[in-house]
């Protein structure tokens, strides 16, 4: 990345003796959609608030479009932000809310009206101009908040868990709408969420955060399939973790529950006799031997959950339990608890957690 649009370099934030963000680094390209994903208290909102100017970094710099904005006040940054709690001004109509930033900037009345109409068209709520926030649903309020944030044409759009307060159905439709508007306008966007599905579905890249640091930054595909750390592997998606012992480091073989699995090229300096944590995604595992799967383990079915189109099966293997999903087939009854079962997988799908 030769010339990043947003560059966050060595940013640290401490509140008294507590450090909530430690040496955070991230470069974001123009027009990119980057999500900060992590559990509560990992520092993702603090980083966003530092980019917005609501918190001043204890150290480090934030550069947008080549200009250092680290010390600028929020109203000098030309950044748009959507808040979790909508934060629409209750005393103003929808049109007045959307036009607020334009009025503050001193735009002529006719231009404000035109821009407000354009924004209402973009968020597909053209008939709502004269309504007050309390007359709108949560989803509508958040769309108005989005329109208000992008109306002044900010350089950067910050979304602080904008979907958290909405119900599941609205959340899915609104996240698709946010992504489509973002792509259409080409606006560089930072999206904070603790919902991995949200982050995976709409981001160009994801920064997975833990303990005030970015554990891994990568595309959703990389984050999900090639997690760099144990935390990322556990936090993103469902993961089955098995203990294995390296039997032959040179040949790359590992013993899992008395069966040999070949992990050539993945052992990364492990020695024979070392104990490793091995991880498999549920979708990488099949019940029974399947063609193309080079490894298998035997166990006993401990739980079966019928979820409609999918059946979630848990299989006890040694001291561990492996979870896997199979599609429902009306012609085949689901497996029974207590049955002996064999699971198969490709050793290339197995992750070694370091």
């Amino acid at each position: 990345m030769a010339d990043p649009f947003l560059s966050i370099q060595h940013v640290r934030k401490s509140f008294g003796a507590t450090t909530v963000v430690e040496d955070f680094n991230l470069d974001v390209e123009r027009g990119e959609f980057v999500s900060f994903l992590g559990p509560s208290g990992c520092g993702k909102t603090t980083v966003l608030r530092m980019v917005a100017g609501f918190e001043e970094p204890s150290a480090g710099t934030i550069v947008v479009g080549g200009k250092d904005i680290t010390k600028l006040r929020p109203n000098q940054r030309n950044v748009g932000m959507v808040f979790q709690a909508y934060a629409l001004f209750p005393n103003l109509t929808v049109a007045q809310n959307i036009g607020f930033g334009l009025k503050v900037a001193g735009m002529p009345r006719a231009d404000i009206d035109a821009r407000v109409t354009e924004m209402l068209g973009i968020i597909k709520l053209p008939q709502m101009a004269d309504r007050y926030p309390y007359q709108l649903s949560g989803g509508q309020q958040q769309r108005i908040a989005l329109a208000r944030a992008i109306a002044p044409k900010p350089k950067l759009l910050l979304l602080d868990e904008p979907l958290s307060a909405l119900d599941a159905k609205v959340r899915v439709s609104l996240r698709e709408e946010i992504r489509s508007i973002q792509k259409k306008l080409g606006i560089t966007t930072i999206f904070v969420t603790h919902d991995q599905e949200e982050a995976l579905s709409i981001s160009d890249r994801i920064a997975v955060m833990y303990g005030g640091k970015a554990e891994q930054v990568g595309t959703p595909f990389e984050i999900y399939n090639r997690p760099a750390t144990k935390f990322v592997a556990n936090f993103v998606g469902t993961l089955n973790v098995l203990e294995g012992t390296v039997t032959d480091a040179a040949a790359g073989t590992v013993r899992v529950n008395s069966e040999q699995v070949s992990l050539k090229g993945k052992l990364n300096g492990s020695k024979s006799g070392d104990t490793l944590s091995l991880a498999l995604r549920p979708e990488a595992i099949s019940l029974g031997r399947q063609p193309g799967r080079d490894s298998s383990l035997s166990g006993e079915i401990s739980e079966v959950h019928f979820l409609g189109s999918v059946i979630r099966v848990r299989v006890g293997i040694g001291g561990s339990t492996v979870s896997l999903d199979t599609f429902n087939s009306p012609a085949t009854p689901p497996p029974a608890v207590g049955e002996k079962a064999e699971i198969s997988f490709s050793s290339s799908d197995m992750l070694v957690l370091h």
């Binding site: 109203n75 748009g80 209750p90």
Partner: protein
């Protein structure tokens, strides 16, 4: 259940009687000025008295200035305490309660000693200075009511997020307070304003000891020298106070509604 309801009504009627009987007696007495018939003579005399008009006008003007001073002091203070200094809230609440604990007579004696004509700040050396001191004193007396009204109003809105939303849209502090915060707590501010008005209109101690031609000392003077007119004045003062309370109720219906409190 029925017995409980019966006793509830008994308590309500006794309470209402305790409140209304003296009031009705005062109204009835104020109408007895003309021997043998009920008339509004006492009201005519009171309302036609040039001293009534002058003192009432003086107190209304003093009330308006007190409200302006109170809003200018209390709104930014309560806003800043909520936004940036919540740890100071107990201290500020304690300070705003002091006028309820310290009698007005103690405050006004303190003023006379501090701001007499020989002091470095000789407020009492001129009429304007004394008027200003009276308004400052009234603002102090009204502080517990004004602060609580504004603080309650601020509690109903998400001050921090609304402030940040306005800031990120480019607004400065003046715009934030003037266009975002104040309109959303306007009803609370008006409640505080009407309570202030009611306090100022009937206040006696400060106005009397600072020798100001206010409505309170006039009420006392009439009460000491006349029979029926004080009752008429009491009814008028009561009507003004009730009018203020009714206005608070009416205006609260126009309060900006949040999504969380649609009705």
């Amino acid at each position: 259940m029925k017995s409980g309801r019966f006793w509830a009504w008994v308590v309500f009627i006794v309470g209402a009687a305790y409140f209304f009987i003296p009031l009705l007696a005062t109204v009835e007495f104020s109408l007895r000025m003309r021997r043998g018939v009920h008339s509004f003579d006492a009201y005519q005399i009171v309302l036609g008295d040039p001293r009534f008009q002058a003192t009432f006008l003086y107190s209304v003007i003093a009330a308006v200035f007190t409200i302006i001073l109170g809003v200018l002091v209390v709104v930014p203070t309560a806003y800043w305490i909520r936004l940036r200094l919540p740890q100071l809230r107990p201290i500020v609440e304690f300070i705003t309660l002091l006028p309820l604990v310290i009698p007005a007579i103690v405050i006004v004696f303190g003023y006379i000693r501090m701001y007499g004509s020989n002091s470095p700040l000789p407020f009492l050396g001129s009429n304007m200075g004394a008027n200003a001191l009276l308004v400052i004193g009234y603002a102090t007396l009204a502080l517990p009511y004004m602060y609580r009204a504004v603080d309650t109003g601020l509690r109903t809105i998400d001050v921090r997020t609304l402030t940040e939303a306005a800031q990120i849209l480019g607004a400065g502090w003046g715009t934030i307070i003037g266009r975002v915060i104040l309109p959303n707590v306007l009803i609370a501010v008006l409640s505080g304003a009407f309570l202030t008005f009611a306090i100022v209109i009937g206040e006696f101690t400060m106005a009397s000891l600072l020798n100001r031609p206010a409505f309170g000392p006039y009420l006392q003077n009439i009460g000491a020298n006349r029979a029926y007119e004080p009752a008429a004045l009491a009814v008028i003062a009561f009507a003004i106070t009730w009018g203020c309370m009714s206005l608070i109720q009416i205006l609260s219906r126009f309060a900006p509604k949040s999504a969380n409190r649609p009705n």
